[in-house]
Point group: C2
Chain length 331, copies 2
């Protein structure tokens, strides 16, 4: 059973994942570890993943067999396990609990060579609909407090499989960085009586210098205080505190701008490794006025080193306005 441990100074939780236990000799520099060979996520290999929890396939085709366009399956090497109780306990001055939670893989396409930038729009819409269905389902479990949706694309961004997929992790606590972001937005709202993200959208639309692209419902920008070169946020122009509460009429626009933004990134940066994360409220009822869900996309172009670890302070060698210009002009 994985274990959650709390740092007594920062209050930061860590998952000690004994299921994935690694000895010193297992730490082969990851650049040298081959990706490729047999792919358990490809169509036809359904028996090589745990049974699906959700799939989009034509009626009449049985689960866990070919003929699907998208599958969601539990991670074969989960960081957290769904079975059991939380069992909070102390060990002297330290605090820990059982590693209860869910860890799922969204297989975005049956075909190995396709990605979010090459898939037809309706398949990208399906990826977003799958996120929504899984978030809603996992939030029904009273033990779970936060559902994180993210994507690691490319070895340098932490992907261990090449086949296009995203991950969903449901956690028994609200992570510190999530609650800090929500608290920050709340502080701004208390001061100004306006959502900080709505204010960002207004200012960016007026200044125009950091806009990458936009459509009817969404805006893609290089944020003013980008931590990383070509960091990109995609914000819904309408205020929704959480991803899963977004009106269903918005999904096509969301899929369009996500795919368009990633295509621009591929063109400017030659298919870079990247991470994206859906930032969404853990309690949309409470955060209704002050929080605003969005995507954060971070191409992995520079190394995070001692300075960043020591301070949470980032050095970004690319002006966000220049990054936006490159991305805006990419056709």
């Amino acid at each position: 059973m994985p274990e959650l441990r709390k740092d007594p100074i920062h209050g930061r939780w860590v998952i000690i994942s004994t299921e994935r236990s690694r000895r010193p000799s297992d730490f082969v520099p990851e650049e040298r570890r081959p990706i490729g060979g047999f792919c358990p996520l490809c169509e036809g290999n359904e028996d090589r993943t745990p049974p699906e929890v959700l799939a989009f396939r034509d009626n009449g085709i049985s689960p866990n067999s070919p003929g699907w366009t998208l599958r969601v399956v539990p991670n074969k090497f989960p960081a957290l396990r769904i079975e059991g109780g939380l069992n909070r306990e102390g060990e002297g001055i330290y605090d820990k609990m059982n590693g209860i939670g869910a860890h799922e893989v969204v297989i975005e396409t049956p075909r190995h060579e396709e990605t979010l930038t090459t898939l037809p729009l309706k398949n990208v819409v399906n990826v977003l609909l799958a996120y929504r269905e899984r978030i809603i389902d996992l939030r029904r479990d009273q033990r779970l407090r936060y559902v994180l949706v993210f994507k690691n694309h490319g070895v340098a961004a932490g992907a261990s499989l090449e086949h296009s997929h995203s991950q969903i992790i449901a956690l028994p606590i609200v992570p510190k960085r999530v609650s800090e972001e929500i608290e920050g937005a709340k502080t701004y709202f208390n001061y100004k009586d306006r959502c900080v993200f709505c204010d960002i959208i207004r200012q960016e639309l007026q200044q125009k210098r950091r806009i990458i692209t936009e459509n009817k419902s969404f805006l893609s920008i290089a944020p003013f205080a980008s931590r990383f070169p070509f960091e990109t946020w995609i914000l819904p122009k309408t205020h929704y505190p959480s991803f899963e509460h977004m009106d269903s009429s918005q999904h096509e626009q969301a899929a369009q701008i996500l795919s368009d933004t990633l295509r621009r990134m591929n063109r400017v940066l030659a298919d870079p490794p990247y991470n994206y994360i859906i930032h969404t409220s853990s309690s949309p009822e409470v955060d209704a006025e002050h929080y605003h869900w969005h995507f954060e996309i971070m191409p992995k172009l520079t190394k995070v080193a001692g300075f960043e670890w020591g301070t949470g302070f980032y050095i970004n060698p690319t002006l966000p306005e220049e990054a936006a210009e490159y991305m805006r002009e990419a056709k």
Copy 2:
């Protein structure tokens, strides 16, 4: 002039370092970028660095010429600049200021092939003394609020030069993660009337399971809630809020355990890339009771991916107690 920009939600500052401006084509995957060739940090190449601000050399030898054992020079490509005023200003809802600060390089040895694990003890002591002198000097500048000392060793840990060196960055603000750590320690002190780090030392000495090594004055441990495999903290057994206020009798013990811990890491993990950071108080008078300086060493064995970026929540595949055992047994 570099610019400091503040994220309006998190209150996190970012250095936009236009001095190091990089275009899309500059982002060659760093694994493929060669390290080596001409080394500006080697003895004899003193004219290839900015003039030294501190050096340990025999009397009678002129500055910026061979015959030294350690030099401190300004970074040739500084993230921050020492000249000018802070100039805090707004841009609509955003806040920024000039990138005032210092960025220095501690060249730990004149010889390219030596490192902190092979240098004689007295040279490692000199590295710590150089840190102290530079911290004390930089803290005299009223514009600067925090001095960070850190080391990037190896390309994967962000080093751009192979020659053994550390870096010092003096900042016009106290970074968020530093003040959070100090606040966390203060909260614990207010509740228990004891320093959390002193409590950690007591519990670790009693449980013994996470101890890597110790000497008269220091303890080296795998922290209970390690974020990374083989993360290691070195704590002074005597309570000092800041590194530079440590009694000078302790430097030899500090150098000994730092060097010993890094040697064990090299043996267990085959010379891994790593970062270390000195965690120290920005106002030792204010933090005297509740903060306790220490080293944090993080070998770079796994990738930080979407999950960690999204949550500040880490998945560690190695049990700290097992990591400590490997390190303890390394001879």
